[in-house]
Symmetry: C2
Subunit: 498 residues, 2 copies
């Protein structure tokens, strides 16, 4: 290697990544086990980590090294070039945002998230609104700075953090297609459902220890290695940590095991992606996950495409029944399948079925764009939320707890994140269809709880690619076409109208 | 404040402290809950944190700022002067050690500690010896560099990290006095004990959940606030985290609750010290704990002086009995007191009684000095350990598991730490005697499980002082004299010969 500038950049970004991993473990700790009184100290620790990381990322010599390295591209292979390009992109964004804004934003997010923890159960939007305003203002400020550096809109600049290269114009088109299809489809699916016996929830209580053991068993079946990860509890389930220490969380309900269990399977899909990222590129920008829509495609592929399918439920139902010593018709495969594919407009996004889920996302996407563009104020948010729910799903949340307080995202500074859920759901349908076409052992394995063929295909076609290619190119290489609404539509039709 | 250099130093050391807190939480995570496979990644994360902290501490401008600030001492009050003096001391030590040695030492410790985790249960010293050699070599190298900067011996330079200003000459004297007293006293205490009924261990099993709940109850009685801390499990019990997030650990034995419970009370003593450090000086060097002997004095004051005393056991015995639904003579106060004050030479330091404990420490102190001075090799360590046990306690460990593999300290890089245990035990006796003299409500409260008067005295005389004064001055102010062997001796006589 004669491109010494590139070599030096790798060393520097390795340091950035190690500090990022440290922050990720702290974030997990904050959500999963930190005592409440430590919140302020933790906020300051995380902000200081941000300062150090920001300092390393934006040091003037980094820009110079990137410039130098780019003059010797011939020395670099494809992975190295993609890595350098990621570095350059990150540098452009990071150096656009001044350090004091990084600190202010980090502190604002910590304070707001902490306040949201009590505001949500109390349905008290007013109490958290001033802190959310601070988060919004600082987010817009940072977005504006990045937007100028990238030559895109504020929204697209924020979206870029979650969906590199993503553009709201593309999202508008895809979401437009979905909105044209879904309302009628939802009615049709509900009609079909009404013509059949309705699912019966097995009767609890379901002890938390049993639920956890069952979840861990399924995680292992999918391929999760507990030598490199954990399952814990948090208010808002997530997948955190780093590729060699992947930490997923869930929340348990002793009266209903089905929701927590499926949540665990969902986060396991995220975890498998992290674990499967290219080991040779650990701690380099090109070794990271591609973006949140592909990340979500991996959780939804496991949850929606596989684990809510009839073949999986056929395998899993007797295991669930045995775990809880269940008896009676509620434990029959057909009933559990009905429960796991029930369609019902409801208030809470994380509990939504895959038919109504896009409506939740479209609402949030509209609202966050309006708030960021200055077309709406936070005072108007609760009512706008309720109006949107009425329009898109025909229901109105009784309080803000089931409305604009339900998701942590905005309160924690994740603006521009929501659309990736639905882009992920569509990508999941497309990837799973391609996987099943590519290898008949993949769908066949699910009948026996054998995920090995599927994971092998995903490692090769998704996980192991890191950021070598864009998400459009990844989808095209793996499935033969870029993101296409019709594959998702076909999936919904075959599951809910057949 | 016109001493602007000092103001800038406070800001800089605040950053150092925040990063130190982050590292402390990572260390806790490593010991308490990290999945094993993440060990290598964690080692690299911790090493990178060390690099960042070392960089902040040793930046040339820090030395310049300290020099400038010292020219305007008149602007500073006592706390600020003590703070500046701590900064200067830290700077001298930190800047003596080159960054690559900091990284090498951090990585060597992580690797060795990980290897020790399996070497210990396997009683396989040979497997961990090469990694321990690396730790020893790097420790000696760092010690040599600091020794030159401080103008002291290598051992005293390492001791300084745990006992600021401590000198092995003083330890030699105190340990000499103890060694002259203890062997005969041990025999006398054993004779007295043999003349009485021996303690009977209550019969288990004792479920872990009940043990934890009982421990938490006693922690609360002492004053531990779970809003600012946690109790978890680790192989080697410790108190970690930071003052606003104090995390103590224990390990449970379902056949014997007594040892884990007393361990919890011990760590609670450490935790109360951390929580009681002066809030106005959080994240400044002067706001830190004074050193490990005073730290240990706080855990041993709670454990040895209070919780193994008859008044405490009288209060606690019925609570223990009720928690485990116990019945029969094993649960009587007198029996539990006998159990908790039993003297018996044994192999394991952490399980040792307060009469034999100093022998364990004296052995380790001798051995670590010989290893650091080059008077002994690691090949000779297992036999030297066993010879020392034979000489000091009259017993020989059956394997290295009960011998030189039992403590994590050396394997994790803590050289020069061991003497602080016994210095702490002596300080504990002296402080508790002074506290009881100062306020009759203190010993009276213990009969009712009321720790408030004791904690009030400790906050005022120990915890709240931070590093404002040296440990000699702190002891003298609180007890009327510097560390004195006779107070400890009196305590032992009154407990074991009466």
């Amino acid at each position: 290697m004669t491109n010494l500038a590139y070599v030096e950049l790798e060393a520097r970004y390795r340091r950035v990544a190690l500090l990022g991993e440290t922050s990720a473990i702290l974030h997990w700790d904050t959500a999963a086990i930190m005592p409440d009184g430590a919140a302020l100290a933790r906020a300051e620790q995380l902000a200081e980590m941000q300062v150090v990381i920001h300092g390393l990322k934006t040091a003037p010599e980094v820009g110079e090294l990137i410039g130098k390295a780019e003059t010797q591209l011939g020395d670099l292979d494809d992975w190295q070039r993609a890595n350098l390009s990621e570095m350059s992109h990150q540098w452009t964004k990071a150096s656009a945002v001044p350090e004091d804004l990084v600190v202010a934003l980090s502190l604002a997010c910590s304070a707001c998230e902490t306040s949201w923890r009590s505001a949500r159960p109390a349905a008290d939007f007013a109490s958290v609104k001033p802190l959310l305003q601070e988060v919004l203002d600082r987010t817009r400020e940072a977005g504006q700075a990045k937007a100028e550096a990238l030559g895109v809109s504020i929204y697209d600049a924020l979206l870029d953090d979650y969906e590199p290269g993503g553009r709201s114009a593309d999202i508008d088109r895809v979401f437009g297609e979905l909105q044209a299809f879904l309302p009628d489809f939802l009615q049709e699916a509900m009609d079909v459902q009404a013509s059949r016996p309705s699912g019966v929830l097995p009767k609890g209580p379901f002890p938390v220890d049993t639920q956890r053991a069952l979840g861990e068993g399924f995680m292992k079946a999918i391929g999760f290695d507990f030598d490199f990860g954990r399952l814990d509890v948090s208010r808002h389930p997530f997948c955190g940590g780093c590729p060699d220490d992947v930490r997923i969380t869930t929340r348990y309900d002793e009266d209903d095991f089905t929701s927590s269990l499926m949540g665990v399977l969902h986060e396991t899909g995220h975890a498998m992606y992290e674990r499967g990222l290219p080991e040779a590129w650990r701690r380099q920008p090109v070794g990271n996950a591609l973006g949140m829509s592909i990340h979500e495609s991996q959780s939804l592929l496991i949850e929606m495409q596989v684990c809510r399918s009839r073949p999986f439920i056929e395998w899993a139902a007797p295991i669930m029944k045995e775990a809880f010593n269940g008896s009676g018709p509620a434990w029959e495969t057909e009933n559990l399948y009905r429960l796991y594919t029930r369609v019902k407009p409801d208030f809470i996004r994380v509990d939504a079925d895959e038919v109504t889920y896009p409506a939740h996302v479209i609402l949030r996407y509209r609202l966050e764009r309006a708030l960021l563009d200055g077309d709406m104020t936070l005072d108007e948010l609760p009512a706008a939320w309720n109006d949107g729910m009425k329009e898109l799903l025909g229901i109105v949340p009784p309080t803000d707890r089931e409305g604009c307080l339900q998701d942590v995202h905005w309160y924690d500074g994740a603006w521009g994140y929501f659309p990736t859920y639905t882009l992920g759901a569509m990508s999941a349908a497309q990837l799973y269809a391609a996987a099943c076409d590519a290898d008949a052992a993949i769908p066949a394995g699910i009948f026996d709880g054998d995920f090995y063929p599927l994971m092998t295909w995903l490692r090769e076609n998704v996980h192991g690619k890191g950021r070598l290619v864009t998400s459009v190119d990844l989808l095209t290489a793996a499935t033969g076409q870029p993101l296409a609404t019709d594959v998702f539509v076909d999936h919904l039709k075959s599951r809910y109208l057949a």
